[in-house]
Subunit: 428 residues, 2 copies
C-alpha cells in the first residue's frame, strides 16, 4: 500500500520537505516497508511550483483540494501563523488524516484543541520541527526519556538571538551592529521583533514544558524578556565572572509549580549550553533518573526542519502500516500551576552607574540588605571622572524582594542609572 | 490490562531499573495508559533481593522461572556477556515475549540472529542502553533522523577512557596515574582492558554504524586501537596545534563503503565533541538533510542506563497496547562492505625523537615524499642534548602510503624512535 502525503505551504521548509521526500525516496520506502508518495502540494504563491519542478498532477489550486483527496493520509502543514493553519489542521484531523506541522505559535496557543480532535479522530498530530529545527527533542522527551520525571528543560532555542549574542561576545560589537549583520546574512528577519523579544522562544518553551511536565502551558503564560538591552559591557563583565550570556528558555518544576520563562541569563562557562554558538540550538534536560542530557544541532534552516518533518512522516507511515495511529498523543494528563515570576528564586547580576563618592557602596548595600537581598560579590569597575560602575552578583533571592531593593536603589541620589539586571542560570 | 515485566540480572543497571519502575510507577502508568508491573526478577546473587527489598513473590529461583511466566510480556536482560544472555533472549523472543537489553557485546556479534528471531516472532527487541548509557541515540537514529542518509556517526562512547584523557589533559599526568585515579573513583574496572583497548567502544560503534548505514557491522569488523600509548606530551603538542585528543568511535559511509574504527584522534578544539569531558559521552551525527546534530549525556552509571531501559519498556508497553509489536525492527536492509583501514584517507600527527643533526629533517621529509605523503607542518620541539623531538602534521594521505613512509623512517639511522602516531578527525 502506498502512503499518500499532501503538503500545504511550499516555503523554505515545505520546499525542502518536498525535495527530501524525492531525494531519499528509496531509503524511506525501505525504512517504512511501503512507498511514501507526495500526491498533492499547495502554495498560494504558485511560482514555487516551477521553482521546485512540481509535476502538473501534483499541483493543487487550493488547500481544500489537498484535504479532499482520499489517497492522502498525511497532511503536512507548513504555512505557519494561526489562521488558516488552525482550520486546515482541524479539518484534516476530523477527516481522519494525520498531520505533521512545525507551527509553534499555533501549538503553544491552541494545542489542547488540536490534540483533543486528533485523539477523537484516532490519528497522529506530530510536531518535531516546531522546536529546535532538526534536533530530535520532542520524540526523545515523549518516548526515550518518559521513564523520568523531568525536573528541568532549558534551551537555546532561537538561532537569531544566539547568533547576535555570539557575535557581540566575539567582536565586542553592539546589539544593533550584530543584528544588522544577522539580517545581512539571512539569520534575522527584516522585522526581528519576535526573535529578539523572545516571543519565538516563548512558544517553544511552552511546547517543551508541556511535554516535560505533563501539563499544558500556553505561550501567553511564559514570562518573556528579550535581548535588546544586552551590551558588550555586560558580556565582558560576565566573562570576567566566569559566565556567558545566552537567551535562555527555561522550564522547571519545583514543588508541583511550573517555572517557565525566556530571558537573557548568565550561565557558567562550564555549563554544556555555554559553548553553543552562532545559529546552533541546544536543549538541555535534567531528569530524576538520567541526570543531564543535551541535544544539539541546527535550530533553523529549511533542510534541518525538513529532517524533523520527514521523520514525523515516517513515524506516521509506520503507524499506518501497523494500525497504531494515535499511539502517542497528548501527554498533558496533569494540571499544574505556573509560578509567577515574582516568586522566582535566583541569583542576579546588576550593573549600575553611580557617583564616585565615599559611602555610595554602603548606601546601595544597605538597600539590598533592607530587602533581605544578600550580596555574593561586588566589583567596582572603570571610573569615568565623577562616575563609577558597580557590578553586583547577589546570592539566591526571591525576585519580589530583589525588585523592591532595586526600586529603592534607583531612588538613591548617588545612583545615576541601573544599566542592566540579568538573572543567573545553570549553577548547581 | 496490566503489562508484566521480568528482569534478569539485578546488578547496577538491573537494580536501578527495578527501583525506577517502582519510584515512577504512577507517571509510567499515565504515559502508557496501563500499569507496568514487575512480576519476577532473577539474579544468581540472591543477596541482591534483600538489598533491593524485593518481595518474596517477585523472587525467582532461575531465569527459566521468569521466562515461563505467562503474565510476563517483556523480559529485561541485564546480565551481559554472550552466554547465557543469548539463550535467554532467544528463548524469550521465541515464546512471544519482547526483550529489552543493554548487551552491546552480544548485539554487536549476534545481532542478526536475534533480530531475525524477533521479527519471526513478531515482537520487539530494544537496546537503547547498549550505547551511550542514558543518551537517547538508538531511537533518534532509527526514527527521528530516518529521513536522512547518514554520512557520519562519531562519538565519545566510553566514559572510562574519556575520564582518563580528560585528567591527563587537565593535570598533565601519565596514562597509568590517570587510570589509577579512575579505578579509585569507580570509573574504571580492576581489569580495564576492554575499555582502554577500545573493545567496548568497538561494540558500540558496530551497533551505531549498523543502524546509521542500514548494513550489519560486527564488532570484529571494527579496526580498534586503545589509548595506552597516549602521553601527556602528545596532549600538550595537540593543544598547541589547536586539537584535543579523544578516543573516538567513528563510522562513515563513502562511495558505498563503510569506514568503521575506534582509535585515539586529534579533533579540533572547535568541534562539538571536543568539549565533552570526564565520564560524559556524546554522539555526533551528520546527515545529508539535517547537517550536524549531537547527543550528549551520561554514558555510564546504573540510573543513566535505567533511564534508557525504562524508555524501551514503555515503548514496548505502548506497542502491546496498540497491537503494534515489531513496529520497528532491524533496519539492516543493505549489504555494504567495510573499507580496510589501509585504504583510510586521513591526516596524521607523528611525534618522533631524532638525532639533533643537520640534514635529519631533509632525510625524514624525503621518505614522506617518496611515499607521496605530503606534510602540512613540522615543528621542532625541545632538544635534549643530542636529541630533538619533531612533530609532523601530514596533509590527507592514504594510510597504506603513510605506513610505508613510516617504516622507511623508522629505519633511518638518525631516527631514535617514532613515539606516537595519531589520526586526525572532525576537520571540514
Amino acid at each position: 500500500m502506498e502512503i499518500g502525503v499532501g503538503i500545504i505551504g511550499l516555503g523554505t521548509v515545505g520546499g525542502s520537505v518536498y525535495k527530501v521526500l524525492a531525494q531519499n525516496r528509496e531509503k524511506i520506502e525501505k525504512e517504512v516497508g511501503q512507498p511514501v508518495k507526495v500526491k498533492k502540494v499547495f502554495d498560494l504563491n504558485q511560482s514555487r511550483y516551477d521553482e521546485l519542478s512540481v509535476p502538473e498532477e501534483q499541483r493543487a489550486l487550493s488547500a481544500k483540494e489537498v484535504l479532499n483527496r482520499d489517497d492522502i493520509s498525511i497532511v503536512v502543514e507548513l504555512i505557519g501563523n494561526i489562521e488558516p493553519a488552525r482550520s486546515i489542521i482541524l479539518e484534516s484531523l476530523k477527516s481522519g488524516k494525520s498531520v505533521v506541522t512545525a507551527n509553534k505559535e499555533l501549538l503553544a496557543l491552541h494545542g489542547e484543541e488540536l490534540f483533543t480532535v486528533a485523539a477523537e479522530s484516532g490519528v497522529d498530530l506530530l510536531f518535531e520541527a516546531s522546536v529546535g529545527g532538526g534536533i530530535p527533542i520532542i520524540k526523545p522527551l515523549k518516548e526515550s526519556l518518559t521513564g523520568n520525571r523531568v525536573r528541568e528543560v532549558m534551551g537555546i532555542v532561537n538561532g537569531t538571538t544566539n547568533y547576535i549574542l555570539s557575535r557581540m561576545s566575539e567582536e565586542g560589537c553592539s546589539f544593533s551592529d550584530a543584528l544588522k549583520e544577522a539580517q545581512e546574512k539571512g539569520y534575522a528577519e527584516a522585522d526581528p521583533s519576535a526573535d529578539v523579544e523572545g516571543r519565538d522562544a516563548a512558544s517553544k518553551i511552552a511546547i517543551l514544558a508541556s511535554i516535560a511536565f505533563n501539563s499544558r502551558i500556553l505561550s501567553t503564560q511564559v514570562y518573556c524578556e528579550g535581548i535588546r538591552k544586552i551590551t558588550p559591557q555586560d558580556i565582558k563583565y560576565a566573562k570576567e565572572l566566569g559566565f556567558v550570556i545566552k537567551l535562555l528558555a527555561v522550564g522547571k518544576e519545583e514543588n508541583g509549580l511550573i517555572d517557565v520563562r525566556v530571558h537573557p541569563a548568565l550561565i557558567p562557562v562550564t555549563h554544556p549550553l555555554a559553548s553553543v554558538e552562532k545559529v546552533y540550538n541546544a536543549i538541555y534536560v535534567r531528569g530524576d533518573v538520567v541526570g543531564e542530557v543535551m541535544f544539539f544541532g541546527p535550530g533553523a534552516g529549511g533542510m534541518a526542519a525538513a529532517s524533523s518533518v520527514v521523520g514525523d512522516i515516517i513515524e506516521i507511515a509506520r503507524n499506518l502500516k501497523f494500525g497504531s495511529l494515535g499511539r502517542i498523543g497528548c501527554t498533558c494528563f496533569e494540571s499544574k500551576k505556573v509560578r509567577p515570576i515574582e516568586d522566582l528564586i535566583t541569583r542576579y547580576y546588576v550593573l549600575m552607574e553611580v557617583l564616585d563618592r565615599p559611602g555610595v557602596l554602603a548606601s546601595i548595600a544597605g538597600e539590598f540588605g533592607k530587602a533581605q537581598v544578600s550580596l555574593a560579590s561586588v566589583i567596582q569597575k572603570e571610573t569615568f571622572g565623577e562616575r563609577a560602575e558597580l557590578v553586583f552578583m547577589t546570592h539566591k533571592t526571591i525576585e519580589s524582594s530583589f525588585r523592591k531593593a532595586l526600586e529603592a536603589i534607583k531612588g538613591l541620589p548617588v545612583v545615576n542609572e541601573v544599566k542592566n539586571v540579568i538573572r543567573v542560570e545553570g549553577e548547581e
